[in-house]
Amino acid sequence: MNIKHTRIDRIILSFNNIFLCIAVLVVLVPLVYVVLASFMDPTVLLNKGISFNFSDWSFKGYQLILSNDAMVRGFINSILYSVGFAVITVVVCIFAAYPLSVNGFVGKNFFMTLFIITMFFGGGLIPTYLVVKDLGMLNTPWAILIPGAVNVWNIILARTYFKSIPYELHEAAKVDGASDLLIFFKIVLPLSKPIIFVLAMYAFVGQWNSYFDAMIYLEDPKLHPLQLVLRSILIQNQAGPGMISDQQSMAELKKLSEMIKYSSIVISSLPLMVMYPFFQKYFEKGVMAGSLK
């Protein structure tokens, strides 16, 4: 743009920039506060607020978190669930999407309708719970990995992507005598790495951040993902058993539990916050692909 701005335009633009700066600050300040507060001694935090006098800093919160069994186990569980879920859902959805993208696939409309209906109607919480229970999946990781594996949205996205692959490639392969299955594995899949990656990232993030399925299906604390452990620390105010119980006074206990809150937020959000800037482009692509229908 090499248009010269008039005076009124410059005023409007500076207001525009001021408002954007405010928006950035509104988002950033709470996040930075939590990170800084996680290093503060709780008494200092309460009396003086954030202090940049490094003698007030302490790593006690992180020490307690990292030496806590429930937290570490939750972290490992969450990694397993998120990776496992991403793999399962991507495989199931990509596999389903391919035949639905093949021209002349008999039953295409029937299958699509079958999937799309589930986007608008559902049996509800209890009937789904009863099915999971009857299958003997309660209190097993399968309850987290399997029931939500079919994501219709993912199927639609992958199908749209497959359709965008030039049909000449299919034709050429068919002339050479390749079956649809061979075309899928040898031609379509290698060309579909971006969409596979986008879907996997979404599944991973979604699973990492969710607590609801784990809360209703998993009773055994040993199976709990990170978000459930966090819930007991942050919301229910129960710092993990054994985490701080060896401290003497109630006041000391309360102080430490405040500290643990901050540091557990930082630790649990760290993986996604570190990952996200690198993959921002892909996440945005996912949103865009979704909006195109």
């Binding site: 988002v27 049996g123 399997i146 209703i216 978000q227 919301i235 800037p277 921002q280």
Partner: protein, 325 residues
């Protein structure tokens, strides 16, 4: 119409049509036989969908039964609409229903314009690097979990938290944010905007990037300033997108998420924080009243579908025939 035509046709033609249908079936069967591996690829998704989506839909009939786990879904006795009338006539009904409606209605009204305004402002940034970094910051909260968001809300709004330190300084005493039902909705909606507004602006930002620069040039020559161009060129570009987003949001007004409201509930703010999904969870899984809970859930989804249809009709009218479907 077609039936009438068929009746008038000669029997011979009918037989021909049957033959044709039979040969089509044969052809389809041949296709399936030849391409059975394609069907194997869809099979896992179909089987999972039937098990975890369609069987529960069938299981939802327990809403009309006096369900006992021993007798099972089929064996339990029918009670007709008893579970529904029990809910509709319970003293909680009006409160829970209105809480659900108010929470999402106000959330939609207040939250809907924010990403649009953000995108219009971001669109004015000419330096790509600055724009990218601002977007990076604004999108970040989207990746924070509900548990952490609500955890942060509790920390920030606790009687000794940073916001109350400020409040005490000004007003002399802290505000009991989390135990006062009057504050629940505002806290829920504002924290929701904080988390989602940036991310929701993505599609609008992308749509604005496609605006023909010639339009802006012409308007500038005609003496329009930036604000006028934003309102008369950029905003109309976003209109179709806004319509679709609005229908989707308005249609989902009663399907508001369970996860955040449940975490934000305290025993004190229940008068405004108890909504249908949290109620379904409590009576269902915590008190074990499966049939009643399913009825409440079913009631909720029926209202959802009706809303989606009604809102789509309204938007179609307002938006010159362009709806979602």
């Amino acid at each position: 119409m077609q039936e009438i035509v068929n009746v008038q046709k000669e029997p011979a033609i009918q037989i021909h049509a049957e033959k044709k249908a039979a040969s089509k079936l044969k052809k389809n069967l041949e296709y399936i036989k030849k391409n059975y591996h394609l069907y194997l690829l869809v099979a896992p998704a179909i089987i999972l969908t039937i098990i975890f989506k369609y069987i529960p839909m069938y299981g939802a009939i327990i809403a009309f039964k006096d369900f006992s786990t021993i007798k099972g879904i089929l064996g339990s006795d029918w009670v007709g609409l008893d579970n529904f009338t029990k809910f509709l006539s319970s003293p909680n009904f009006a409160d829970i229903f209105m809480n659900t409606l108010k929470l999402s209605f106000f959330g939609l009204i207040v939250g809907f314009p924010v990403p649009i305004i953000l995108s219009l402002m971001l669109n004015q940034l000419r330096r790509a690097a600055i724009k990218k970094n601002i977007q990076l910051v604004l999108y970040a909260p989207n990746f924070i979990s509900v548990v952490v968001i609500v955890g942060m809300v509790f920390i920030f709004l606790s009687p000794t938290g940073p916001i109350n330190q400020l409040v005490s300084f000004i007003a002399g005493k802290p505000l009991m944010f989390m135990s006062n039902p009057d504050y629940f909705r505002s806290i829920y909606i504002i924290s929701g905007i904080w988390q989602a507004a940036g991310w929701s602006s993505i599609i609008y930002v992308a749509a604005l990037a496609n605006v023909d620069p010639e339009l802006h040039n012409a308007a500038t020559i005609d003496g329009a300033n930036i604000l006028q161009r934003m309102i008369h060129i950029d905003l109309p570009t976003l209109k179709p997108l806004m319509a679709v987003t609005f229908i989707l949001a308005a249609g989902g007004i009663m399907s508001i998420g369970f996860e955040k409201a449940y975490l934000m509930q305290t025993s004190m703010n229940l008068p405004s924080s108890e909504i249908l999904p949290t109620y379904v969870y409590k009576v269902g899984l915590q008190s074990g009243d499966y049939a009643y809970s399913t009825a409440v859930g079913l009631f909720n989804s029926v209202i959802n579908v009706i809303l989606l249809i009604v809102v789509n009709k309204i938007v179609k009218k307002l938006n010159e025939g362009e709806g979602l479907y």
